[in-house]
C-alpha cells in the first residue's frame, strides 16, 4: 500500500535552533502513527510544516504521491488535513458552535449570511458524537472550563471531516471519560481510512491507540517501529538519548539517603521538633460552590498532594489559597496567622507561592525577558531598596539558569522563545527567589519532557528537604505517589479523603476520585 503522506529529509531552522534536521516520516491510511520525543524535539514544527503553517527550508513532502508545498493552512485544509492544536485556537467570546464552524459557517447560498439554527444543531450533533452532551453550545467558550474547551477544539477539527488529522497533546486537559470518547472516535476515523498523527507525552496512551511510533530527538529522525515492539524504557532511551532514566521516586531517593546517613551519622538529621504545621485550612468554601468545606494542613518539610479529576475543584482550591479568588467562608492560617482574604501580593510577602497550571498564561510574562521573569515574584527580595539594578538581575538569573539547568542563550532571551520545560523551570526560579515557606505546584509537569520532569521533581524534593512545605496538585497519579508524603483526594469540590504511607496506590486514589467503593 502507498503511504498517504511521505516526508523526506525535511529541514527547518529558526534563529539559533535547527528545529528539523533531515526529518523523514510516513503515514498510511487507517493508521495511528505516534510522534514521540522530548519537548523541543521538533514534533510541533513537523506538524506545522504539514499544515502549511511553517514553510520548510528543504526536503520534500508528498501527499498521495504528489509533492506538496503549502503556503498557508488554507491549502492544507483544502487537501483534507486538520489538526487539534496544543494551544487552544478559539475565540473566547464566541460560543462553541461559532468556534467549531469558524470561517466555515453554513450560509444561505453564496450570501455569506450565517444559518445560525443549523450551525447550532450541527455543533450539538458533533459534540454528542464525542460524548459531550453536556456542553452548552450557545454560551461563550471562555465560560466552559479548559476540559470542555478542549473537546470543542477536537470537535472543530473533526467537523472538517479530515482524511489526515494531527492531534497535538489532545488529552492533557481531558478527563478519563472524555479521553475514552476521543479514543473511540479515533478508532472510527481509522476504520474510515483516515490517517492520524498523534503527539503525546503520555506513554500509556501509545499502547492504547497507536499502531506505529516514530521517535524524534533534536529535530532528527531516530527510529520507527510498531508500538508493541518498544518497551517504555526503550522509548525513553530513544527520546532522551542518554542512559535510560527512571521517572523520579522521592521515596526511593529518600530511603537511599536515609540509609546512607544512618550509616554515617546516626544521631543527626532533622529533629522532630522542627517539623511544624505551616499552613492550616479550615472549612474553606468559595463563592461559586466549586470548593466545598475543604480542610487540610501542611507541615514544613513535607510534600502533600491533591488528586482529583479535572473539575473536582483542585485548581479552584489553589486559587483560593493564593488569594486570586476570594473565599466565601472558612479560614486559612499561615504559621497560625489568619490570612484569609489577603491579596496574592501580600501572600507572597507572607510566604505563599503558586506555580499556576497554565505557565504561559498565568506563570510568565511571555514577551518579557528571562531575567525580568526571574525577579518578577521576588522583587522585594532581590531589590529591597525598590530600585532595580540590571546587574543584580543578570547575576541572579545566571545563578538560577545554572542551578536549574535552564537552557537559554542568555538572560535577555524572551520567555516566549523558550521550550515548555525551560519555561516551567523559569517559573520555578521565580518562586525560588521569592523564597516562600509554602509553594503550591499546580500541574508542574504538564506537557514537558522527561528530562525536565525529573529535574523539577528533584528540585521539589530538595525544597521539601530544606524545610519548605509543598502542595502538589496533579492529574498524574504516578507523579503524586512518587513525590508525596500524603495525598488529599478531591471529588466534586470537597476533600473526599486523605491517604498516606502504604495506602498510597493508584487503585486507592482512583476509587476515591471516582467515589466508588467508599
Amino acid at each position: 500500500m502507498e503511504p498517504m503522506l511521505r516526508i523526506e529529509n525535511l529541514c527547518k531552522s529558526f534563529p539559533g535552533v535547527k528545529a528539523l534536521d533531515n526529518m523523514s516520516f510516513d503515514l498510511y491510511p487507517g493508521e495511528v502513527h505516534i510522534l514521540a520525543g522530548e519537548n523541543g524535539a521538533g514534533k510541533s514544527t513537523l506538524s506545522k510544516c504539514i499544515l502549511g503553517y511553517v514553510r520548510p527550508d528543504g526536503g520534500h513532502m508528498f501527499l498521495d504521491g504528489k509533492e506538496i508545498a503549502f503556503a498557508s493552512p488554507k491549502d492544507s485544509l483544502a487537501c483534507g488535513i486538520a489538526a487539534v492544536y496544543q494551544e487552544l485556537t478559539m475565540v473566547p467570546w464566541l460560543n462553541a458552535a461559532e468556534n467549531i464552524f469558524f470561517n466555515r459557517e453554513p450560509v444561505y447560498g453564496k450570501t455569506g449570511i450565517v444559518r445560525t439554527g443549523k450551525m447550532i444543531s450541527d455543533a450539538r450533533t458533533i459534540l454528542s458524537d464525542l460524548g459531550s452532551h453536556d456542553i452548552d453550545v450557545t454560551v461563550p467558550v471562555r465560560k466552559l472550563g479548559i476540559a470542555k474547551q478542549q473537546m470543542v477544539e477536537i470537535a472543530r477539527a473533526l467537523s472538517m471531516d479530515p482524511r489526515l488529522i494531527i492531534f497535538d497533546e489532545p488529552t492533557s486537559a481531558l478527563s478519563e471519560k472524555d479521553t475514552e470518547a476521543l479514543f473511540a472516535k479515533i478508532h472510527d476515523l481509522k476504520k474510515k481510512g483516515a490517517g492520524i498523527i498523534y503527539i503525546s507525552h503520555r506513554m500509556k496512551e501509545y499502547d492504547r491507540i497507536g499502531d506505529r511510533i516514530t521517535v524524534m530527538r533534536d529535530g532528527k529522525y531516530i527510529c520507527t517501529g510498531r508500538v508493541s515492539d518498544f518497551s517504555g524504557e526503550e522509548l525513553i532511551h530513544h527520546m532522551v538519548g542518554r542512559k535510560t532514566v527512571r521517572i523520579y521516586s522521592r521515596r526511593e531517593e529518600k530511603a537511599a539517603s536515609r540509609t546512607e546517613s544512618d550509616q554515617h551519622r546516626k544521631t543527626e538529621g532533622p529533629a522532630p521538633a522542627e517539623i511544624k504545621e505551616v499552613l492550616k485550612v479550615e472549612n474553606l468554601c468559595d463563592k461559586k460552590g466549586r470548593v466545598k468545606n475543604c480542610s487540610l494542613s501542611l507541615r514544613s518539610g513535607e510534600i502533600a498532594g491533591i488528586a482529583g479529576l479535572v473539575g473536582s475543584g483542585r485548581t479552584e482550591l489553589a486559587r483560593l489559597l493564593f488569594g486570586i479568588d476570594k473565599a466565601g467562608s472558612g479560614k486559612v492560617l499561615l504559621h497560625g496567622e489568619d490570612i484569609t482574604g489577603c491579596s496574592p501580593g501580600k501572600l507572597v510577602r507572607k510566604g505563599i507561592g503558586l506555580l499556576p497550571e497554565d505557565r504561559k498564561e498565568q506563570g510568565l510574562a511571555l514577551r518579557a525577558s528571562l531575567a525580568w521573569n526571574v525577579t518578577s515574584a521576588g522583587l522585594h527580595k532581590a531589590f529591597p531598596g525598590h530600585i532595580l539594578d540590571r546587574r543584580t538581575e543578570k547575576k541572579l538569573s545566571e545563578d538560577y539558569m545554572e542551578d536549574l539547568n535552564i537552557a537559554a542563550r542568555d538572560t535577555e532571551v524572551r520567555a516566549l522563545n523558550m521550550s515548555g520545560g525551560n519555561q516551567q523551570k523559569l517559573v520555578l526560579a521565580k518562586w525560588l527567589l521569592a523564597d516562600t515557606d509554602v509553594i503550591i505546584f499546580d500541574e508542574p509537569t504538564r506537557g514537558i519532557d522527561v528530562q525536565a520532569k525529573r529535574e523539577i521533581y528533584a528540585h521539589m524534593a530538595q525544597l521539601a528537604a530544606s524545610g519548605k512545605a509543598i502542595l502538589l496538585i496533579s492529574s498524574e497519579l504516578s507523579e503524586l505517589i512518587g513525590m508525596c508524603d500524603r495525598i488529599y483526594v478531591m471529588r466534586e469540590g470537597a476533600i473526599s479523603g486523605e491517604l498516606s504511607g502504604e495506602e498510597l496506590s493508584e487503585e486507592k486514589i482512583g476509587e476515591m476520585m471516582f467515589g466508588v467503593g467508599v
Binding site: 485556537t89 478559539m90 475565540v91 468556534n99
Partner: protein
C-alpha cells in the same frame, strides 16, 4: 402564558446597555427643565443632528470590536465634506460625485488597513498618522476655507423626510442596520470578533488575518464617508473642520453601547443608544443654556460614568 413573558422582559432588560437608561433619564431631565422639549420637532432635530455621528460610530464600532480605535475617521468626515463640494463646484454630476466620495473614503480605509496589517504597525499609531494626513488633504483641497455649493438635494436629505425623520436619519439608520446585521449574522462579523480575540483561530481555519483586517478598515472608512456626506448636507458646505473630534465621540458611543475594548464581546446594536446619549446630552445642555465651557466637561463625566457603570455591571453579571 404570562410568566415567560415577564422572564423574557427581565432578560431583555438585563441585556440592554446602561446607556439606554441613562438616555431615558436625561430626556426626562431636560424635558422638565425646558419648554417644548417633548415635541416631535425637537426629537426630530436631535436625531437629525445625531445622524452623521451614527454613521461614523457604526464604522468605529467594527474597529472597536477588533480591539482597536480608528483615529482617522473624523478626518475622513472632513475630507469627504470638502471633496464632495469641490467635485460639485467642478461640475461633476451629483451621483458621480457621491460615488467618487465613497470610493475615496474606502481608499482612505484601505490605506489604514494596509499599513496596520501588512506593515504590522499598531492601529493607534497608523490612524494617528493618517488622521493628520487626511486632515491636511482636506485643508489643501479647500484652501483652508469653508467652500460652498448650493444644491436642492442637501435640503432634501437634511430637512425633508418621512415619518418626521429626515432622510439623513434614515440613511444613518440603514447604515446602522447593515452594520448590526453584518456583525451578528455574517461571516464577516465572526471574522471581526476573532480579530479582537484570537487571530490563531482565523489562521487555523484557513482565513487570512491581513485580508480581514483590511476589510474592517475599508468598512470603517466607508461609514465615515457616509457620515461626511450627511454632515455636508446639514451644513450645506464643505468644512475642513466638520469632522473634528468625531472619531472620539464615535469611540465613546461604541463603548457606551456595550462594545468593549477589553473583551471584544459586546453588542454592536447598542451603539445606537451610545450615539443617542451623546447627542441628547449635547443638545440638551445647549437648550438648558449651560455655558459651552462646561459642556465638554459634563459630556466627559457622563461618558466616563456610563462606562464605569457598565464595567461594574458587567463584572457582577459574569460572576
Amino acid at each position: 402564558m404570562k410568566r415567560p413573558d415577564t422572564a423574557d422582559m427581565k432578560r431583555l432588560a438585563r441585556r440592554l446597555p446602561p446607556s439606554v437608561y441613562i438616555t431615558i433619564i436625561l430626556i426626562c431631565f431636560f424635558g422638565l427643565l425646558t419648554d417644548n422639549y417633548f415635541t416631535l420637532d425637537n426629537m426630530g432635530v436631535i436625531l437629525r443632528q445625531a445622524a452623521p455621528l451614527l454613521a461614523v460610530s457604526c464604522g468605529q464600532t467594527v474597529v472597536v470590536l477588533t480591539q482597536g480605535t480608528d483615529l482617522s475617521l473624523g478626518s475622513i468626515v472632513s475630507l469627504m465634506s470638502v471633496f464632495w463640494i469641490l467635485l460639485l463646484n467642478l461640475g461633476v454630476p451629483l451621483p458621480a460625485a457621491v460615488a467618487c466620495c465613497l470610493l475615496l473614503s474606502a481608499l482612505c480605509g484601505l490605506i489604514n488597513g494596509w499599513v496596520a496589517s501588512k506593515l504590522k504597525i499598531p492601529v493607534f499609531i497608523t490612524t494617528l498618522g493618517t488622521q493628520n494626513i487626511y486632515k491636511s488633504a482636506a485643508l489643501l483641497l479647500c484652501g483652508s476655507m469653508t467652500i460652498y455649493h448650493s444644491h436642492p438635494v442637501f435640503r432634501t436629505v437634511a430637512r425633508e423626510g418621512f415619518l418626521h425623520l429626515s432622510w439623513s436619519v434614515w440613511i444613518a439608520l440603514a447604515a446602522y442596520s447593515l452594520t448590526v446585521f453584518l456583525m451578528k449574522k455574517s461571516r464577516f462579523g465572526k471574522m471581526v470578533r476573532a480579530l479582537g480575540g484570537n487571530e490563531e483561530a482565523i489562521a487555523t481555519s484557513g482565513g487570512s488575518v491581513i485580508k480581514s483586517r483590511i476589510l474592517v478598515f475599508v468598512y470603517a472608512g466607508l461609514m465615515a464617508g457616509i457620515g461626511g456626506l450627511l454632515v455636508c448636507c446639514r451644513i450645506e458646505s464643505g468644512n475642513p473642520n466638520a469632522g473634528n473630534g468625531m472619531e472620539f465621540s464615535a469611540v465613546a458611543a461604541a463603548l457606551l453601547g456595550g462594545s468593549s475594548l477589553r473583551e471584544g464581546g459586546g453588542d454592536p446594536a447598542g451603539t445606537l443608544f451610545g450615539v443617542l446619549l451623546i447627542q441628547v446630552l449635547k443638545s440638551g445642555l445647549m437648550q438648558v443654556g449651560v455655558s459651552s465651557i462646561y459642556q465638554n466637561a459634563i459630556i466627559g463625566i457622563v461618558v466616563l460614568a456610563a462606562i464605569i457603570f457598565d464595567a461594574i455591571y458587567r463584572r457582577t453579571d459574569s460572576e
